[in-house]
């Protein structure tokens, strides 16, 4: 996951990665879309997918409408036990890695996100955590707000997911509270509702 822990760093890193040619942005077309082997989604309107194989793990996709520093959707499909929910820049001095474990309860998965999102000093507030169907499987839904340390922007976020056969399937969306989160919220809700998990 390309998490915005440092705007400057991500801009520079993105430029460096781009210059080595290993990043591309492709269109996620409206309509049905398979993500990984088991997750099926339906999109109402196109999105932009950031392809950076050296940066984002194979079981997580990163989408955006307005740009990485504004909004981001993370789509997890089949994240396995012990896999991190975020990327780690090569040679990074990060000590703490946030790994998913198959036996995690919903509140622990949310705590994992909270830990990841707050490691740069950002502050996280959980607004809601409730059981919800995801992809036809019993799962969870959460909502949060974040005050982003690097640029002081107040962010709203939402996540829906489920653990199926020990793997994590989830969609997490966040964008600035002001104007941007509400702008794309309905379409994100539609994507989440459309999710189907193959057995």
């Amino acid at each position: 996951m390309i998490t915005i822990t440092n705007l400057k760093r991500i801009a520079i890193a993105a430029i460096l990665i781009a210059l080595t040619g290993c990043v591309s942005v492709t269109k996620v077309d409206s309509g049905d879309r398979a993500v990984g082997e088991r997750l099926q989604l339906h999109l109402d309107g196109a999105w932009n997918q950031i392809n950076a194989p050296s940066v984002v793990g194979p079981n997580c996709q990163s989408w955006t409408m307005e740009g990485l520093t504004v909004d981001q959707i993370l789509v997890y499909s089949g994240l396995k036990n012990d896999e991190p929910i975020h990327y780690q820049a090569g040679g990074s001095s990060e000590k703490k890695v946030f790994k998913f474990h198959s036996n995690m309860q919903p509140e622990q998965i949310v705590a994992l996100y909270e830990g990841m999102l707050t490691r740069d000093g950002s502050t996280f507030t959980l607004k809601k955590l409730e059981p919800a169907m995801f992809g036809g499987v019993k799962g969870f839904h959460f909502e949060y707000t974040l005050v982003r340390k690097t640029d002081n922007v107040q962010i709203s976020g939402t996540g829906s997911g489920a653990v199926s056969k020990g793997e994590l399937f989830a969609i997490v969306y966040q964008a600035p509270q002001l104007v941007f989160y509400p702008r794309h919220q309905a379409r994100v809700a539609h994507i989440i509702q459309s999710a189907r998990l193959k057995a």
């Binding site: 000093g121 959980l126 409730e130």
Partner: protein, 384 residues
Amino acid sequence: MRRRQFLAAACAASAGLAPGPGRAEDAWVMPPRMERPDVATDEGGLWALMDREEAKLRRSPFAIRDAELRSYVQEIICRLAGDHCPDVRVYLVRNRYFNANMAPNGMMQVWSGLMLRVDNEAQLAAVLGHEIGHYLQRHSIDTFRDARSRSAFGVFLGMFGVIGLVGQLASVAGAFANSRGNELQADRIGLSLMSKAGYDPAEAAKVWENLLLEAKANPAGDPTKNSPMFATHPPMADRKDTLAQLAAALPRGVTNEKTWQEKTAPYRREWLNEEVKRGQFEESIALLSRLMQRSPEQPDFVCARADVYRMRSSDTDLNAALADYQAAIALGGEPPEAHRGMGMIYRQRDQPAETKKSFTRYLQLAPEAPDSAMIKNYLEELGA
């Protein structure tokens, strides 16, 4: 007037070289209020950019804007700063680390990590008095000139800024510490101000004693990574000893512990949650154990320690967490989260009766909690 100031500073500084029971403090005279220096001077330039940093702080979503808490802290500062009171502006900041800092333009920052750790007004006054001491003697100008000549000035500014990764500062510690003489002078002045304001100077050493306790709990850790303050000041053990020695010669005074606890009570749970979320288990346990010992009737500290045990969840931790949750509940007025925490452990251990009891109680106490729907669902699964 300048000459007298210089002499007063020189006296204090030279006396500072020979620590011992102090006649020197009596010789120190508070300098007069400062005029804003000419923008063309380097001091003036420093003020101007501190004003910019202050604007950033004012606009930051991390500033605590609670008028009551802010004016309470401002009053304490005014008692210390005397005639300089109108020149000092305090900003309270949401930050889980221990830090307070005063810039040459009169802007004072206090982080919530510090407010969680000090036991009373006197301890806060000790730290703020020390910072005011640096301000009154214009020590940061010396550091600024020194830093500038090393052309690494921007990192110096980071000490005053809200934004900045604490870890980075540790690596430049040596460069931006005040000189030993200046540090000693600030400690002396801080104690003098504390004393004149009626506070008990013995509390100053306690601040560092308490922080040392926390730092020692994590033998692998580097305390300088926990706060810009540790990175830029003399080692905690030295300070503790110096302050204890200096305080011995001064009259006793008040601590105002009760008032401090009352005024910060509305924030206690929020600051404790932030501390727990740091994920520094050993340090948090040391801190919380100390707070429990100090305030045995307060369930919030016990509950927070239980949360840390539960997060760490090594072999004996879950039992330790349960014991702490139960102790918090026994005290009464416990946070609803104590019941949730117990419920989570019982659920993990497959103890349905206990799980039901705990989660039901949690929902009774906090029906509007953000995760109430999830907890209700757990209860339904158990056939409650």
